[in-house]
């Protein structure tokens, strides 16, 4: 397993370098376009070819900890920052880079070529990859903060008052959650003297019962987790971010926040393995998010806001998988994160296309879209079926596994909850589908200049991916399950 691969940090370093490069080429459109397309191909290529293993920064090996002097609980520790790369990281990285690529392609296609804008997308890509790869809890914290700033920059680029307000709110609560994550790390450092997650997990296992300071650290880190993944008290803030960004950026933002949810929940479970109360608390907040998100999604009359609430409630469903806490359920949760990210991305790309074509996303004013863009309407119908868990598609596989895991863990009520959520999602999105594509009497004019060949290609590729995962789920599910079992949480 100890394979000191230099390709692993490149997944973080290369996007950062490219972001700086693109940032300097602000006015030169052609070179920005060329560099971003080339670097996107490289970004997708690197995670595929990298072997599993760990990377030790500056080659610091695991060494003895001098237990008599340092009073550490374990005999040997990592001396530097460590990045680890396993099967789950590989799958998540590939999905993340592909959807980032699609977003950048749509941004370039819309003639919005701005070096700074693409630089922010690259920085958010770099920080999300670092969050998923980092085996060091402080490195993780630093990149969550960078991610918040990059996401706010992407949202306020819309130059709309509502997006400024959403960005400001996101930053205000980001300060609270960032400080609480940092304080949690500080308390853990004070109690155990370690920052590496593997070492910390071993030390906490060796230390036995958690003392009150470590328990405060748990609650502070849990608050940070709720913010980063947009669960219960922060669901409105996250939803505001999604709805006020450009829809293709929302497609990227929801991928990032769901993957950060998965990464941080894995970190929490690894560090505090065997602490059952944490799982129950996560489950409680996840159920709250699912209920509020789906109920609010049904009320909306604006496509982007509706999709934002659906995205939030689906994030809650991923967290339900983590909250149940058996390895089967956690694997199902991670699998659902991947499936849901793909089908939500289709819906957000369709929202982006609708916004370009009809200049509005208010459901009242739209209508008769099926005559104008039949292909997009058909794909949206398929995506609706996919996200609400209808058999040939991918979400069916993960939701079925979630229900099974809930029944195995002795809480079959949660299975009913999953079914109700998928019904609510279906009703909410099929309403939007009807009002955009089938309702007679549109009140808006069609922008005939927008042909959207790029959008159509992207959504067709994504829906075919959804179908492929739905037909052959084990290609993705089995590595995830083995990884979760090897974590031993």
């Amino acid at each position: 397993m100890l394979n000191n691969s230099t390709l692993i940090p490149l997944m973080v370093v290369l996007p950062l370098i490219m972001a700086i490069l693109v940032n300097f080429l602000h006015q030169k459109d052609k070179s920005v376009k060329f560099i971003s397309i080339v670097s996107l191909i490289v970004f997708v290529f690197i995670p595929v070819v990298t072997l599993y293993g760990v990377h030790l920064f500056s080659g610091h090996l695991r060494t003895g900890s001098f237990p008599e002097i340092s009073k550490l609980l374990i005999p040997d520790v990592y001396m530097g920052i460590v990045y680890s790369y396993g099967s789950v990281q590989k799958i998540l990285m590939v999905v993340l880079t592909i959807i980032t690529g699609f977003t950048v392609l749509t941004v370039l296609n819309k003639k919005m070529i701005s070096g700074v804008y693409i630089a922010m997308i690259f920085i958010s890509l770099a920080s999300t990859s670092a969050i998923m790869l980092a085996d060091d809890i402080f490195n993780f914290f630093v990149f969550t903060e960078i991610l918040v700033v990059a996401q706010v920059a992407l949202v306020i680029a819309v130059q709309d008052t509502k997006s400024f307000k959403a960005g400001f709110k996101y930053m205000i609560f980001g300060t609270i959650s960032g400080a609480s994550i940092l304080l949690g790390i500080a308390l853990l450092l004070g109690v155990y003297g370690l920052l590496n997650i593997t070492d910390l997990s071993n030390a906490i296992k060796a230390g036995g019962q958690l003392n009150p300071i470590a328990l405060s650290a748990v609650s502070l880190l849990t608050l940070g987790w709720l913010y980063e993944s947009g669960l219960f008290p922060f669901h409105i803030i996250k939803c505001n971010m999604y709805e006020n960004a450009k829809p293709e950026i929302s497609a990227l933002l929801q991928v990032q926040s769901k993957f950060v949810l998965v990464a941080m929940a894995i970190i929490l479970f690894r560090v505090f393995s065997g602490f059952a109360l944490l799982k129950s608390v996560m489950l409680g907040f996840a159920i709250f998010t699912v209920v509020l998100g789906s109920v609010m999604a049904l009320q909306q009359v604006e496509l982007r806001k509706l999709l934002s609430f659906v995205a939030v409630s689906q994030a809650g469903l991923v967290a339900v998988g983590f909250g149940i806490g058996t390895s089967f359920a956690i694997a199902a949760g991670i699998f659902h994160a991947i499936n849901d990210v793909l089908s939500m991305a289709i819906l957000f790309f369709i929202a982006s296309f609708v916004y370009d074509k009809f200049k509005t996303t208010k459901l009242e004013e739209l209508g008769d879209g099926l005559q104008v863009v039949p292909l997009v309407g058909f794909v949206m119908l398929l995506a609706t079926l996919a996200i609400s868990g209808v058999p040939p598609f991918n979400s069916y596989q993960s939701e079925w596994r979630l229900i099974q895991a809930a029944a195995q863990a002795g809480v079959p009520e949660l299975g009913v909850l999953v079914i109700l959520l998928s019904v609510a999602t279906f009703v909410a999105i099929i309403k939007a589908f009807f009002m955009i594509f089938m309702k007679p009497g549109p009140k808006v004019e069609v922008n005939t200049e927008v042909r959207g060949t790029m959008f159509k290609a992207i959504i067709v590729i994504l829906i075919l991916t959804c179908l492929a995962i739905g037909l052959f789920p084990n290609i993705i599910y089995d590595p995830i399950y083995n990884f979760v079992v090897s974590l031993g949480v």
Binding site: K169, F173, L220, L223, F232, V291, L417, V423, A424, K431
Partner: protein
């Protein structure tokens, strides 16, 4: 019975959309009630402490008296920053109480 419910919703949603809006509001009302029922069953079945059980029962009773719940949920989930701040402070306090107090 259902006509009465429809009338109530019609009255409450005069300034918003009619027809399809009322349909989705009714759907979300039923969903909300079933979610609450499931949550109450879950808490009552798995909770070890009597405080949690009684709390769940009281909350369930309180909510059943405030039907229709959807409008109240919508009022609590606006974009307001003060309301979000209140819920964040509440969550922070709740997390400390749960983890340090150990319900």
């Amino acid at each position: 019975m259902l006509e009465k419910v429809y009338e109530i919703f019609h009255e409450k949603m005069k300034d918003k959309g009619q027809g399809m809006g009322i349909g989705s509001a009714l759907t979300s009302e039923f969903l909300m009630l079933s979610f609450l029922l499931i949550g109450a069953i879950l808490v009552l079945r798995t909770a070890n402490s009597t405080i949690l059980g009684f709390g769940a029962l009281i909350i369930l009773g309180g909510i059943l008296f405030t039907v229709p719940t959807v409008f109240k949920v919508e009022k609590e989930n606006t974009d307001s920053i003060n309301l979000s701040s209140f819920y964040v402070a509440l969550t922070l306090a709740l997390l400390f109480v749960i983890f340090l107090g150990g319900i």
